[in-house]
Symmetry: C2
Subunit: 167 residues, 2 copies
């Protein structure tokens, strides 16, 4: 009823629109599920990357991961305030500080992964295994073809520090 357009296909027929809708919905639900833990999606994304690259300098992390330096420094500051990471002197580069996860961060990550599993179960509740496998394959191809980096959300790497106007 809301798409009575004689000249254009309804937005419901556009994969780009549906991806935007579902991406916004998913990000919002993920934020909801993380809220009781006290972190946001960006903290999760950053903690997960820091865990895999424990003890690197911010400069190294920024270059290696392609994460915008301002975004990273802001997030590391925030995580340090929450006592989830600490900056210590870099073992080989005296001028640099390396970022280390504190034990609380590992616990936090385990709880955040439970939120990821919960989100996925909720989102895909109506799909069977075959649907999920087909969807996964198509989304992986689409992400790769559009230059998205494996496991790194563009909200971390983009120069769009504030989210784009998704709505």
């Amino acid at each position: 009823m809301t798409e009575a357009d004689p000249t254009h296909a309804p937005l419901f027929e556009h994969p780009a629109f549906l991806l935007g809708q579902l991406g916004f919905h998913t990000a919002g639900r993920f934020a909801d599920l993380l809220a009781p833990i006290g972190i946001g999606p960006r903290h999760f994304g950053m903690l997960r990357l820091l865990r895999d690259h424990d003890g690197q300098s911010q400069q190294q992390l920024s270059e290696m991961l392609g994460i915008h330096r301002n975004v990273m420094v802001g997030l590391v500051d925030d995580l340090e305030k929450r006592e989830l990471v600490e900056r210590r002197k870099h073992p080989t580069d005296r001028r640099a500080h390396a970022v280390y996860l504190l034990p609380a961060a590992h616990e936090m990550l385990a709880r955040a992964y439970e939120a990821v599993d919960g989100l996925e179960a909720e989102l895909l509740a109506s799909f069977d295994e075959r649907d999920i496998a087909t969807l996964l394959g198509l989304l992986q191809r689409l992400a790769t073809a559009n230059g998205l980096r494996r496991g790194i959300h563009p909200g971390l790497t983009s120069e769009r520090i504030s989210p784009p106007p998704c709505g």
Copy 2:
């Protein structure tokens, strides 16, 4: 290399993560493609709905479309300043104002639909017709099962007036 986690599947294996990534990317690219026209994705979403419901009061629009009243009033104000819509006295409800599209809005919408087509072509460049049809069907089912309304972006209907932290 960035997902060396012994206990959890890489995020690249999670449809929810990929939807978040692709949704953020798509919203950002749509904003890029609309920028030369001088509007954002939310203006497009609102103009498109107003065109299909021309001459309704804001109250009617808010109820019928499930669009958060604050979001709608703000967007109509903005569109009015841009001389794309105007508020006139509602023909039957003296206390209400109806919202009407001005001719410039129809021209703007036609240009915005070109941006939609361009976005879709870019996003799906590596897919053949069958891939696109499969993806479309799965995304439509997912959107419906998760309570998303046809052709209405949750950024318009949600009480999340500011976008959630997508990153």
